[in-house]
Symmetry: C2
Subunit: 411 residues, 2 copies
């Protein structure tokens, strides 16, 4: 399986993801802001009239902004009419599908240069309303009536993993500790503080001081959300947008001498309701998408230098790095503990802080991940730059694994 | 502009569109029903495992079914996991974009055979709630606060057209008269009655009888909706689903000796809010999409034998046939009056009864139109079959023209 025409990334831009600073902006304004940054990022400059289409992921604009017809909306606000634009939706992977649609559109020969991206404007609703909006990624017929929400669904996966592999919640905390460290080095991240610093800031008002991350994580600051998942096991609610500019390989050289090539793309589904799945310790959609993307790229997991994987909850990151083949089953959690996925490890994971710290504006997340791969492969990731990054991997999941996109990029 | 790889239709299927008969079914069940019919329609048979992806248009499942993640949902219910599936949204053109995504996915080389389609399950909500859901296709910032709804927006277009060309509401009634005639010949249509028959059925309970269609249209049965548009100027609210199976040209021959070839595809946008547009008597998105699709196909409007155009309101059909170049500006309304767009006319329009009579389950409409082109080009349209149909055109609009897909098909 190969594409009829090669496609490369020639630009990427994002807003900071945040729960507060964007409250005066609408989704379309956030998308515009990210798009302007992508346009500015193109080495040799780009005339916006070169953009022939806009593909935008937005999970539930109906709930957050009482607005549909999002493709036309953002294309209009970018001043690009009559170029085509449409929305893709696949829950929290919505913008990875916008990216994938952009890749297909260029590979098909219909367009040469397109803008892809995503946005979610979540913070104007109450936490209860956001929980309700997000619940539409699960099965409304069978999962919501008994009261399931996403923390609860991922808690099931964590419990199953702990039981099968004799792992513990304490071990799992290596994930947020790493994420907060990476997030502290990322100016686009929602949370840019080490856990120990958050703890001591919180503790100062209570006459408490902490000596390490783990002590904070075991304190009442880290309140229970859905057993065994606590606050720091969960990604936040965020506003934000991220975009990227794609060009056909034969056109990309007009814009940059260092395009980032797309070597493999794949998308998969799994049963929407978790009770229909064959495993609770693996997401089949990830396994299959990973296999296909590696096959298209002609690569293996060991070839990957840096990966952004979908860590909406800590356990999700562990399942992802095992399902993608970076680690054997049951060994992912120890790999994180041992620092193998840290910035200086063999396979750095979520160098941007992940959904946990960078934030998770659902529709923006997939292309936000691509933004990080773009930065790392171009050597522009600043203090969190890993050395000699040549191959990067994107892994973006919808809901609790009913859809998945994996893509492999090369410098 | 041409596609890297040719794509053909090898199957199509739809549920009847209706306001009542599907009330016990969910959107996923309707989509399944349409998909089964598409699978059955393939001349040489098809193993559903040949389907490598599912692209589904659904405008506002969040409003109607409290459900997102629609691509995974329908793929799951079709028993096709782990194949990929995702949702496209562009208001009332959502499934034309699913079709377009399917075309791009095959032309790109990623897939050989895909299922495309759309669904909308609208009738469980009250009319007020449906009006609210549909309003999300307009601009929530500038159009909805002053009270605009879609009948009102299209009424503006009708008034502008009447004023510019000296046309009248009476002339416009040639559209529903034709649509009801065509709908009466279509077993998939929501309304399968001539207007005169509806009038006399309604009149029988009131001691009234009518001698022709126009007398019914001038009666109180045809109540005012948004001046000058009356009830019979408006399409109904409907439940329904439609699907089609696409295959690469080199693979299509495995399934049928008479594939329907896709000769041209295009998509465009226009300003979301109508006050930003340059004209009220033409939809720029249609004009541009038409030009591009004809250019790709190497054809002109006169080459088209049959067209399904977006007639959510009567005036929309007039604008469409002028914007697509079938008639000069201001002459479309007289062309319909003169029967040039009837089943026996030079260019039959909306042979299936159009949105007006076939129904308009928003997300299903685009592929529902493709279903009609498929039937006509294969000579399977029964009593409404036109003679020697070789070239067919699809025209599907989002909202009041902020997005548009045009596609040209050839026997």
């Amino acid at each position: 399986m190969s594409l009829a025409r090669g496609v490369s990334l020639v630009g990427a831009g994002m807003t900071r993801f945040h729960h507060r600073i964007h409250q005066d902006k609408s989704g379309r304004e956030l998308f515009n802001e990210a798009a302007e940054k992508a346009i500015e990022s193109v080495d040799g400059g780009i005339d916006r009239r070169d953009l022939q289409a806009v593909f935008v992921g937005y999970f539930t604009p109906e709930a957050y902004e009482h607005q549909g017809h999002i493709g036309a909306q953002v294309t209009d606000w970018l001043g690009l009419c009559p170029v085509s634009g449409w929305r893709t939706e696949s829950a929290c992977a919505s913008s990875a599908y916008a990216f994938l649609t952009g890749v297909l559109a260029i590979a098909s020969g219909l367009y040469d240069v397109v803008l892809v991206g995503g946005v979610e404007k979540m913070t104007e609703l109450s936490t209860e309303q956001v929980t309700d909006a997000l619940s539409m990624a699960a099965c409304d017929d069978y999962e919501l009536p008994p009261g399931a929400t996403f923390p609860g669904l991922y808690a099931l996966l964590a419990q199953a993993y702990f039981k099968k592999y004799g792992a513990t919640w304490e071990q799992l905390q290596a994930v947020p500790i790493k994420s907060h460290h990476n997030g502290s080095l990322n100016s686009n991240a929602q949370f840019q503080e080490e856990i120990i610093d958050i703890g001591n800031r919180w503790g100062a008002r209570r006459g408490l001081s902490f000596k390490d991350n783990m002590e904070v994580l075991k304190s009442t600051l880290n309140r229970m959300v859905a057993y065994p998942l606590r606050l720091f096991d969960c990604c936040p609610i965020s506003d934000g947008a991220a975009t990227a500019i794609l060009a056909a390989d034969d056109v990309a050289k007009k814009y940059t001498d260092t395009p980032i090539k797309i070597k493999g793309v794949s998308a998969t589904t799994d049963n929407l309701a978790i009770h229909d799945r064959t495993s609770l310790t693996s997401l089949r959609a990830t396994v299959e998408a990973g296999k296909r993307a590696f096959s298209m790229a002609g690569m293996k997991p060991k070839d990957v230098d840096v990966a952004d994987v979908h860590d909406c909850f800590t356990i999700a990151e562990i399942l992802a790095i095992e399902d993608l083949g970076f680690f054997k089953r049951g060994e992912g959690i120890r790999a994180v503990e041992e620092g193998i996925t840290s910035l200086k490890g063999d396979i750095p994971i979520n160098t941007d802080g992940g959904l946990k710290c960078k934030g998770h504006p659902a529709g923006a997340t997939g292309v936000g991940m691509i933004h990080e791969i773009w930065k790392q492969l171009r050597g522009e990731a600043g203090k969190r730059q890993i050395s000699n990054a040549e191959i990067g991997l994107l892994h973006n999941v919808g809901g609790d694994g009913a859809s998945c996109v994996v893509s492999i990029f090369s410098r």
